[in-house]
Amino acid sequence: MTIADVVKVLNGKLMAGDAASPRVVGAVVANDLMSDVLLFDADDALLLTSLASDQAIRTAHIVGAMGVVVHNAKPLSETMIKVANDLHIPLVSSPLSKYDACVKMHDALEMENRA
């Protein structure tokens, strides 16, 4: 599942980064505490968070995440979008709640695994 697929599954909008990025979701981490995310040891993770700040993007870059989704359609600052573009981290805004976003991602990944 690429970032373009994530945008579709979560009814989201790509706010920064390359829509055609070929990287696929290797794992999903849903967390608002960046120190927890830093300990999450999986490559190409998709970070689902309500933390609409530069630090979410910087953390994603440190752990080699493939993208960041901010749920609840939280407003994203210009600097957050700039940092995401600078660090080449696709940034998605989704209107879904964290719980709903997790369920949708889980279902979509299950479907993909079965196919």
Binding site: L33, M34, S35, L38, D43, Q55
Partner: protein, 343 residues
């Protein structure tokens, strides 16, 4: 005039743009030259000096001033004899205004040189606070055309005056001290200690980390991650190094008064060292435990402050060392071995 209060502008509670919108349109003697502040990529030593030094360290503490009732002619005499181009008008530490050379010229031109200062002084004032970092003062000199700023303490009392010359003198002195240190270090050459070990891939970079600047915090760690990627360091090691760098950078930013994050890449190991000036840690064992934190809600709202910084850094490192002196500094060193995984 008893209840008269001047308009005083400081930068503490306002955004720069708001301040600049309020630049008072009065005299602009003492034409300020433009000093370009180093950006995030500037010299670490200069960045550090500009943060470490406060306005109070550099300002003149003996302020020659006059009272509101002093005649303009008397002000002119005091300015001439002391060779100063701006004279604060204050009483018992309370600042009311400033008389500048331009005000004197206007007074002579218009025939009010025998009137009291309070009638013709500038009362819309831009001031600095004694505790502001010197970087602030430099920015003020760049953005306003005034040659000097009165300095107030936290109780709004006039405690000094600062001119560009004062800043220049202090910076030149401190820079010569720092450069002398570097020269001595260079002269010692390879005997300077194990971290100066050379090697084919040896690389070292220092990053200045500013207290409370959470907007920039993480930049050094992101850059370190990038360097590791470019140098094709094993992905899992690169990740561990970046995690430690990030946590320590955030720690300096939120808990200390500022410091330096050093990244050293040698043939067999990578070292991340975070050294800060600051309150120090009274109980290191407690601080290194998971979940213990002195962070406030603001830090938590930025996604940090859960008390995992030190324990996370320790967890990802092959060697971990922490030293601290209360009231002085904290230094954390994380070492990552490259020999096991690199081949």
């Amino acid at each position: 005039m008893e209840n008269y209060t001047p308009t005083i502008i400081t930068g503490e509670q306002q955004q720069d743009d708001e301040i600049f919108a309020k630049i008072p349109a009065f005299d602009a003697d003492g034409q300020a030259g433009h000093v370009t502040l180093p950006s995030g990529d500037g010299s670490v030593i200069i960045m550090e000096l500009l943060q470490r030094f406060k306005v109070r360290d550099v300002m003149k503490r003996t302020v020659i001033s006059v009272s509101r009732g002093t005649k303009m002619r008397e002000a002119q005499r005091i300015m001439r004899e002391n060779r100063i181009s701006g004279l604060p008008v204050s009483e018992e530490g309370r600042l009311f205004g400033i008389v500048s050379v331009n005000d004197i010229i206007n007074a002579l031109d218009n025939g009010w040189i025998d009137e009291p200062c309070e009638n013709h002084m500038a009362s819309s004032l831009v001031v600095l606070e004694a505790g502001m970092p010197l970087a602030y003062a430099l920015r003020y000199f760049n953005n306003y055309t005034y040659g000097r700023f009165p300095v107030l303490d936290s109780s709004r009392k006039l405690v000094g005056i600062i001119s560009q010359r004062d800043v220049m003198r202090a910076l030149l002195y401190e820079l010569s001290v720092e450069i002398r240190k570097l020269e001595r270090k260079a002269a010692r050459g390879t005997n300077a200690g194990p971290e100066h070990a050379s090697g084919e891939n040896y690389f070292r970079k220092e990053f200045a980390v500013v207290h409370n600047d959470l907007g920039s915090a993480g930049r050094a760690a992101n850059e370190i991650k990038q360097i590791l990627k470019e140098r094709k360091i094993d992905r899992s090691i690169a990740r561990r190094v970046a995690v430690a760098a990030y946590e320590l950078e955030i720690n300096i930013c939120i808990h200390s008064h500022g410091g330096i994050l050093t990244f050293i890449l040698a043939d067999d190991k990578i070292t991340i060292r975070a050294k800060d000036r600051g309150p120090g840690i009274p109980d290191i064992e407690w601080a290194c435990r998971d979940g213990t934190s002195t962070a406030n809600d603001w830090i938590r709202s930025m996604g940090f402050g859960a008390g995992m910084g030190l324990s996370n850094s320790k967890r990802v490192s092959d060697e971990f060392d922490i030293k601290s002196e209360v009231g002085k500094f904290t230094q954390v060193t994380c070492v990552f071995s490259l020999s096991a995984k690199q081949e």
